[in-house]
């Protein structure tokens, strides 16, 4: 078991390395760099900059050097000092800007995953056990409906409904008086009151996939001979359902964490921008628009790292729940 985990971790290293390179290249892909964006900004405001100043700034930021050297400097800083570079736009170290937001992003993603699972599993079970019934069709229709509605539209409608009809304050994760306050019970309650809306909005988009997977897995399992065996033991239908077919149908579902997590995170970026949440989403959008390469690169890298860790966790969970994987 430990060897299995160690092996999975070793495999994660080249993936992370590849992700860091791809992240860096993608940021470099659009023509120009941070300074051209900055110049364009100044020019639009009527200011003019001497060519010499630009060259000097380019040299200071190291933007005149070849791309592989810039990458080397960036990655070496991360590995040796945990230094993700400077955000040009904010004029602050990247680390100062992102840790807090990354924490909220992670929390939001985990809460969303839990929410989706908690909803998808029972609906999937119901759909499978009552296959082709009204409840099966209703659940399937709703799941696909939410899949089809774009995240931002869902976020806007949810915000409108909540504020116009229920008078709740929407947007952000805290009410104004708690934003800068230290953590307290009041802040926690306030957080809970705010966080459920984005969780629901992001989660509903991924619901369809999970419901359908659960339904299909369970339908396969329900007709397996071991179900008949358990029935022949005299087990009640409900206990039987949960103990055998559902237990086995969950295994493939666990492996979906690997790809549901990226979907949740990308959904989170869009929804966070719309709902102005203090997560990495709005920050990433802004840094990309400004070609603030170290900030954007670091964010993409860290989000990828979270995804890889999520996959790793799902692999480990799968090994724990399925002896066939663990013992082979």
């Amino acid at each position: 078991m430990l060897r299995y985990i160690a092996k999975r971790m070793v495999f994660a290293i080249p993936t992370l390395f590849a992700v860091s390179i791809v992240a860096f290249i993608i940021i470099q892909l659009p023509p120009g760099d941070y300074l051209t964006t900055l110049m364009a900004d100044w020019a639009s405001q009527g200011g003019a900059v001497e060519a010499g100043t630009v060259a000097a700034m380019r040299e200071r930021y190291g933007l005149d050097q070849p791309i592989y050297f810039q990458y080397y400097k960036w990655i070496a800083g991360i590995l040796t000092r945990g230094d993700f570079g400077i955000s040009f736009d904010f004029g602050k170290p990247v680390t100062e800007l992102i840790w807090n937001r990354l924490g909220f992003s992670l929390l939001l993603s985990v809460l969303t995953l839990c929410f989706v699972w908690a909803i998808a599993i029972p609906i999937g079970i119901l759909s499978a056990v009552r296959q082709y019934s009204i409840s099966d069709y209703t659940a399937t229709f709703l799941a696909f409906f939410f899949l089809a509605v774009p995240d931002f539209l869902m976020a806007l409608s949810a915000m409108y409904v909540m504020s116009a009809w229920f008078g709740q304050s929407v947007g952000g994760l805290f009410s104004a008086e708690y934003v800068d306050a230290p953590w307290s019970l009041g802040k926690l309650i306030d957080f809970a009151q705010h966080v459920w809306l984005p969780v629901v909005v992001i989660g509903l988009g991924s619901l369809a996939a999970l419901v359908r997977i659960m339904r299909a897995n369970l339908l396969d399992e329900l007709s397996k001979p071991y179900v008949t065996t358990a029935r022949a033991k005299g087990m009640s239908e409900f206990e039987l359902l949960l103990r055998y077919p559902v237990r086995l149908a969950l295994n493939p579902l666990i492996s979906t964490i690997g790809w549901i997590l990226p979907a949740v995170i990308s959904g989170e970026i869009i929804v966070s921008v719309v709902m102005s949440l203090p997560t990495t989403g709005p920050l990433l959008l802004r840094s990309l628009l400004a070609q603030d390469m170290y900030l954007a690169g670091s964010l993409i890298l860290l989000i990828s790292v979270l995804t890889i860790i999520g996959t790793l966790i799902s692999d480990i969970l799968l090994a724990i729940t399925d002896p066939r994987i663990r013992l082979q």
């Binding site: 007709s223 065996t229 358990a230 022949a232 033991k233 086995l248 013992l327």
Partner: protein, 562 residues
């Protein structure tokens, strides 16, 4: 004690139906029988005869949408109370109290009938918890005791293992332990040995008999194997298309069958007990004939380190059938596949004589030569469902090798029609898809495909194993007819000694990758030289209730060390 006191279960006029689009399908149609304490009733019939559904109807665990439409299933308990199980609510408390506690059941495929993710101790102990609410530590004690009863080695470690860590025979023992947990008065066994090797089958049959004697259970044993019936049954119920054709003591069924269907069934079994008439009539192949295939010292080791084929040497003469017999895992299938280079053996030679007379080593042949050889050496597979593409018509399937060889148009159509006639299929059926055919017909399609290119050697891997016994001899007769017409040679791989005896000229016995004995079929069957062959032969159930022998079989001890 009167007669009625011995009857534990009485089934009267049971009817179970499955609603389909075209109407009600009567899977069980008016079946009646009694189960008596300490006695074994065997239900026999070919696939689709409704024997499994009958068994499941007793416990009301028929798969949806099947339901019991009529009749009664009276269970008499030791205290004299009776319950009609057919009247109970299928999901209700009362029938659940009977399941597993008073009537327990074991199934055909012990791998898929047990959950792969639960420890076997949990699965066995569960019935105790359900029916008696036994606390955990007492459960464990009782499970250990049960594992000892079914003779599983090292029960203390076995109890925490998973099903996939056991062999097929051990899994079936686990199933039996599970069924015995609550000391049921009736045991229903649904083809419990069909998926097992003959020696393992003999052990499981022994075990069931022994436990039946110790517990005084009534056993309802479902099987399609008349040999097994002859070995264990007290009474026999013959079923055909949901109806009881005949019911009676085992001697009567075998030696004085009253019903025409029973007669045919017994005949087709007895036919396979001796050599085919077609083969008895044929003159022997001259001893000096140059071999068509000459395999020397063939070895194949899988990457896992398993020596699947270990220094195998054999020859096949033109027009001859060489049988390869062995139990699962003996390497016979792997060896057969090596002959066509589906696997690449690491050492040895496979010398094959081309029609022009010169020898080619298949093992080292290059791509071009191999392509030519593969049109002369063909293969037939075990599974008549899986080896035919469901998305192609039968005509397309048979035409495929011909097309690859470059035949087209009218010539191709005529050849396909000829081939279908040769194997006894209507050429008019060529536009149909494989699912429209029965198992026996599908195997004929496979045979037509195999002979399409006028091959000289066919490797038949368990070609008749998936067929019912009545179809089996028909298929073998057809293969022999084609052999004589086309001058074919066969390498006939099978685990079934009776099939080998029926059609093979010579037989090689494989055990753990090695050939332990090879010789004329009559000599190997009647006077085996190797102890393993003797053990294998003596474990085969014999379809004669007067001559029960597997309980006194010869055991090959070297095989039990692993």
């Amino acid at each position: 004690m009167t007669m009625t006191n011995d009857t534990i279960l009485e089934v009267r006029d049971l009817k179970t139906v499955f609603p389909t689009r075209t109407g009600l399908f009567k899977a069980v149609d008016g079946v009646s029988f009694e189960l008596k304490r300490g006695k074994t009733l065997c239900v026999v019939g070919e696939s689709g005869s409704g024997k499994s559904v009958t068994a499941r109807s007793i416990l009301q665990i028929v798969d949806r949408p099947g339901r019991i439409e009529g009749g009664s299933v009276l269970l008499t308990r030791a205290d004299g109370s009776t319950t009609d199980l057919a009247k109970l609510e299928p999901r209700g408390r009362e029938i659940r109290d009977v399941r597993g506690k008073e009537i327990a059941m074991i199934f055909q495929e012990p791998m898929s009938s047990l959950s792969p993710v639960h420890r076997i101790g949990t699965q066995i102990g569960e019935s105790l918890r359900i029916h008696f609410g036994t606390p955990k530590h007492e459960q464990r004690e009782r499970v250990l005791e049960l594992l000892r009863q079914v003779e599983i080695a090292h029960p203390e470690t076995a109890i925490d293992r998973y099903t996939f860590e056991f062999s097929g025979g051990m899994r079936q023992r686990v199933m039996i332990a599970m069924a015995l947990a609550c000391n049921p008065s009736v045991l229903i066994a649904d083809e419990p040995t069909t998926a097992l090797d003959v020696t393992t089958q003999a052990e499981i049959l022994d075990l069931i008999k022994k436990l039946q004697q110790n517990h005084g259970m009534a056993v309802l044993f479902i099987t399609h194997d008349m040999g097994v019936v002859a070995e264990i049954a007290d009474e026999v119920l013959v079923m055909y298309r949901g109806k009881v054709m005949e019911r009676g003591p085992v001697e009567q069924i075998f030696h004085a069958p009253q019903d025409a269907y029973t007669h045919r069934l017994i005949d087709s079994v007895v036919r396979l007990e001796k050599k085919a008439e077609l083969r008895l009539a044929r003159p022997a192949i001259p001893a000096g004939t140059a071999p068509l295939l000459d395999v020397q010292n063939l070895s194949l080791t899988f990457p896992s380190g398993l020596k699947a084929v270990d220094d195998v040497s054999l020859t096949v003469r033109p027009g001859e059938t060489l049988g390869i017999v062995g139990e699962s895992g003996s390497g016979k299938t792997t060896m057969g596949r090596c002959l066509l280079r589906i696997y690449d053996p690491q050492a040895g030679t496979i010398n094959y004589r081309r029609p022009d007379g010169h020898m080619v080593d298949i093992r080292t042949a290059d791509k071009g030569a191999l392509k030519k050889i593969r049109s002369e050496v063909r293969m037939i597979f075990q599974d008549p469902v899986g080896s035919l593409s469901p998305r192609k018509t039968v005509g397309q399937i048979i035409a495929e090798p011909l097309k690859i060889a470059g035949m087209k148009g009218r010539e191709l159509n005529d050849r396909v029609a000829d081939l279908m006639q040769q194997v006894g299929l209507e050429p008019a059926w060529r536009e149909r898809y494989p699912h429209a055919f029965s198992g026996g017909q599908r195997q004929r399609i496979g045979l037509a495909r195999a002979i399409a290119l006028k091959p000289r050697l066919i490797v038949a891997d368990e070609a008749t194993s998936a067929l019912d016994v009545s179809l089996r001899s028909q298929m073998l007769d057809l293969m022999m007819k084609l052999q004589d017409e086309l001058g074919l040679s066969y390498v006939f791989i099978s685990h079934d000694m009776s099939v080998i005896r029926y059609m093979c000229d010579r037989v090689a016995v494989m055990y753990r990758g090695k050939i332990v004995e090879v010789g004329e079929t009559d000599q190997v069957v009647n006077d085996p030289a190797h102890d393993y062959t003797r053990a294998l032969l003596s474990a085969i159930p014999h379809p004669d209730p007067h001559n029960r022998r597997i309980h006194n079989r010869f055991r090959y001890e070297a095989g039990r060390t692993a």
